[in-house]
């Protein structure tokens, strides 16, 4: 079944079963591997993308539910986006695997909260696991990004 949607501002389509998670359509069908597979159960946040501007777990988002909607991935977050700039300025990533998900989650926060408190950041980011333990730098980078955004 051919499903069309908007990916990073451009039309995209995939001829796959409608229950296929958006994650695997992005990675395998469309070759957009910036979005990562971590747990397959919405427990770790590595696969976070934006669906109509909201942060969602692409591993739990069937492609059928995405038809006609707007998807943004790490590749579509502009290079001059405040989150990307803050992440680079503080050298946040270590292994870097979870970071696309962390950044997409953070981007959705700074879009709506220009001065996130520590409690705001805890509440918003606690679904995204980082095994390298970059949390202190993520927290600082979110605050910087919110100031820039």
């Amino acid at each position: 079944m051919n499903i069309s949607f908007n990916l990073n501002g451009k039309p995209a389509s995939a001829d796959v079963a409608p229950d296929t998670p958006l994650l695997w359509v992005l990675r395998d069908t469309l070759g957009m591997t910036g979005t990562k597979f971590g747990c397959g159960k919405a427990l770790c946040g590595a696969c976070t993308v934006h669906l109509n501007g909201n942060a969602v777990r692409s591993c739990q988002t069937p492609i059928g539910s995405v038809a006609g909607q707007k998807v943004t991935t790490i590749e579509g977050l502009p290079a001059n986006h405040a989150v990307k700039k803050a992440w680079i300025a503080l050298d946040v990533p270590q292994c870097g695997y979870c970071q696309p998900g962390q950044m997409m989650q953070a981007a959705a926060l700074v879009a709506q909260n220009k001065k996130p408190s520590d409690a705001d950041i805890d509440a918003w980011m606690s679904g995204n696991i980082c095994r390298c333990g970059t949390y202190p730098r993520i927290r600082a980078a979110i605050k910087d990004a919110a100031r820039m955004a």
């Binding site: 990533p93 292994c95 695997y97 679904g127």
Partner: protein, 735 residues
């Protein structure tokens, strides 16, 4: 599969010759020829540097980048002496080759916090040697003495305003004789090493989402494999019914391989959906009935064996029997999973005349041998390409998943990307072994420490992976942070008893430092409190200030370092505001350790709620790691170790039932999240130009001991059973 691995390891060891220095694992690969060939095609003064005619500079990174910054810190060492702009170079991951062997481990292997320690002189000399050859080539062309020429920023200048680029003389330089005497610049002239403003070279691509991890690799005509592996450790496929799976859309083949059954399809999701429809009967193997009752009973029973003595002085048992006061304790430490964020995966393309393996590995040098064993090819027919690693933590020292992918590719005759689910990864890990520990301390009437007994019982990781380094019942990787017991007790006897729990043991970030440092530092804290002394001063008063050599500490300083430990204890006392008065439920705990030739002291400040939930408020470190190469990332490693260690001591526990691991994903295996990380981290360094120590691991162990001691300070409860869950804390209350 275990058989293939063991045969390959034997072949590997047979091909080995002694590699100098350190704790050698006795490995060696005759792949020099490949490097020479690579050199001829490019203008390479040596195996570490490639110079393009366009003046591009490529520095080879021979260690696996799994977050710990080798992608930047290794090239920084080369660039310092090569005299090039570190921010303009390219970095390439090196293929397996003899020249890239880690001298501290004897293999091309990333682990043991050895990357910088091994590279410290080697890579600066490689840079200096290449620079000397480039300058020599320019001088020869100009007919002047090399001493009259100077290299800076990829340019060479000579007398009379002569000027050329590295690129212009690279071809001639590659033919120059390799200099024998390679002087290195003194620390005060460093421009790159120690630069606090240096950024990671891999950050831009990791932020853009373009860094290629193993799981991101795509090759032409590639198929995808999802796998079903036995749920019980040591199980095998007995029979399977693929009648439903093989008719699913996109499925190309269902194949049995050594460890399980793979469904190969046009996409991962198709493979995964079909895999879920397989009906498999398992041969449950020898561990079918294993559970935690058996695991703990086995460890406790084994702990009644005398064990192997790895350090002894005087008459410990006699001194304890005659002591005025005797303190004793037992500790129970659980098995743990690595759970890197990137599940195991490999792209394998096995053909009749050769194979290409593209994989996130910490041990690229072993891969050709195991894949040869699995495919019938020869090791030299196998090309290995290392990608970025989405975390390693020791899990990717294992090469099991490269064997699986190679077998599957061979069976279907096509390039295959095998991707494990999180469940596959968590239940087919090699686990930080659990352990059972008994300790005793005898104190005389004057409060002096007179006798110490330490008896650790745990599975031996090296017996499984590198049996040649296990001697007389002692695994060097089981006695870390205890062979170098840092306190002066005239009579001591330290013993180790290995015991297999039926849970595959593996090297896990910090390895047995995590076990032994918790026991050593937890117990010394108990003794300090019992004799009414301040825990920091008590440690300083009792450190071993001799130059006693430590026999088994292959990756440690190898000698008592009381003076260095005293300095970091004094520094952490000052920086942490030690001795503050806290309300009930809040407190500070200290711990100190030498590991990987780094001396660290840590003070943790915790709050314990009425429900016995632990909150880590602040962690303060004082660290003597010698010369820092990339200071900001040295700090990042301590931050990383802290949170990795915190995950372990607060939540980490792998359990088995019916022979299989019960935790399957991050709901059952809890790790620290944003809201649980320490509210503050304060990391201080002892300024030093001494030889660098390792930083990728040691704080992982230390922070656990500091948190445990802080829980005691906050509550008066000594928790000798990890993790520090409310249940275990309550269970540790004195009756």
């Amino acid at each position: 599969m275990e058989n293939i691995q063991m045969t390959a390891r034997r072949d590997f060891l047979k091909a080995s010759a002694a590699v100098g220095g350190g704790l050698t694992l006795g490995m060696y690969l005759p792949l020099g020829a490949k490097v020479a060939e690579a050199q001829a095609k490019t203008n390479s003064p040596n195996a570490w540097v490639k110079i393009g005619t366009d003046n591009s500079i490529t520095i080879m990174c021979a260690r696996s980048e799994m977050g710990q910054d080798v992608y930047t810190s290794m090239p920084m060492l080369v660039a310092e002496e090569l005299e090039v702009d570190i921010n303009k170079i390219k970095v390439e991951f090196a293929p397996p080759a003899e020249v890239y062997i880690n001298s501290l481990l004897g293999g091309q292997l990333t682990g043991g916090s050895t990357a910088v320690r091994d590279a410290w002189e080697k890579l600066r000399k490689a840079g200096a040697s290449a620079r000397m050859m480039l300058v020599g080539a320019a001088a020869k062309e100009w007919g002047v003495d090399a001493g009259q020429c100077k290299a800076a920023n990829g340019m060479i200048t000579g007398p009379g305003g002569k000027k050329t680029t590295y690129g212009a003389v690279a071809e001639a330089a590659a033919k120059m004789e390799v200099p024998k005497d390679v002087p290195l610049k003194p620390a005060k002239e460093f421009k790159i090493v120690g630069n606090k403003a240096q950024k990671r070279l891999d950050t831009p691509m990791k932020v853009a989402g373009t860094a290629t991890f193993g799981i991101d690799v795509r090759v032409p005509n590639m198929l995808y494999a999802a796998v079903a592996m036995p749920p019980m450790i040591g199980g095998k496929v007995q029979s399977f019914d693929d009648s439903r799976a093989k008719n699913m859309p996109g499925v190309k083949a269902v194949v049995q391989y050594s460890r399980g059954v793979a469904v190969v399809a046009e996409s991962y999701w198709q493979a995964k959906k079909a895999k879920d429809l397989l009906l498999i009967t398992w041969d449950e193997g020898p561990n079918a009935n294993n559970d935690m009752v058996k695991v703990w009973a086995g460890l406790k029973d084994a702990s009644n064996q005398p064990g192997a003595v790895f350090r002894e002085a005087g008459d410990a048992d006699g001194a304890i029997a005659g002591a005025a006061k005797v303190y004793e304790a037992t500790y129970e430490l659980p098995h743990l999973s690595h759970s890197p964020m990137e599940p195991q995966n490999t792209v394998a393309d096995v053909r009749a005349d050769g194979a290409t393996i593209i994989t996130p590995t910490q041990f690229q040098q072993l891969v050709p041998f195991v894949v040869a064993g699995a495919t019938g090819l020869k090791p030299e027919q196998i090309t290995v390409i290392t990608t970025f690693l989405g975390g390693g933590f020791g899990r990717r020292v294992e090469v099991d998943y490269t064997i699986d992918a190679a077998e599957i590719s061979k069976a279907v005759g096509a390039p295959v990307k095998m991707v494990w689910s999180r469940e596959d990864d968590m239940t087919h890990d090699s686990y930080r072994p659990g352990g059972y520990y008994k300790v005793q301390m005898g104190v005389d009437a004057g409060g002096k420490l007179v006798g110490y007994r330490y008896h650790g019982t745990s599975p031996s990781i090296s017996s499984r992976l590198f049996p040649s380094i296990v001697k007389d019942g002692i695994d060097p990787f089981a006695v870390e942070a205890i062979d170098n017991f840092p306190y002066a007790v005239p009579n001591h006897k330290l013993t180790y008893q290995m015991h297999d729990t039926g849970i595959t043991p593996g090297y896990w970030r910090g390895v047995s430092h995590n076990l032994n440092a918790y026991v050593v530092e937890g117990f010394i804290d108990e003794v300090a409190h019992a004799v009414g002394k301040d825990p920091i001063q008590f440690r300083i008063d009792n450190l071993d200030y001799t130059e006693e050599k430590h026999k088994w500490s292959g990756l440690s300083a190898g000698v008592a370092v009381g003076g260095r430990l005293k300095k970091v204890l004094e520094m952490v006392r000052e920086k942490s505001g030690w001795g503050k008065k806290y309300p009930e439920g809040r407190g500070q705990g200290v711990a100190v350790m030498e590991g990987y030739n780094t001396c660290l002291a840590c003070v943790a400040e915790v709050s314990v709620t009425k429900n016995y939930d632990v909150i880590v408020d602040k962690v303060t470190y004082a660290i003597d790691a010698g010369q820092l190469i990339h200071p900001d990332q040295a700090k990042a490693q301590v931050e990383s170790c802290t949170i990795f260690g915190q995950s372990a001591c607060m939540y980490g526990e792998i359990t088995v039932k019916n022979g299989g691991v019960e935790q399957t994903n991050f709901d059952g295996y809890r790790v620290v999240r944003m809201n649980e990380a320490p509210k503050a981290m304060d990391i201080h360094w002892l300024e030093s130009n001494n030889t660098p120590g390792g930083l990728g691991e040691p704080a992982t162990a230390l922070v656990q001991a500091a948190i445990g001691n802080a829980i005691f300070a906050a509550t008066g409860i000594r928790v000798r059973k990890m993790p520090f869950t409310p249940e275990n804390i309550k269970g540790s209350m004195k009756a």
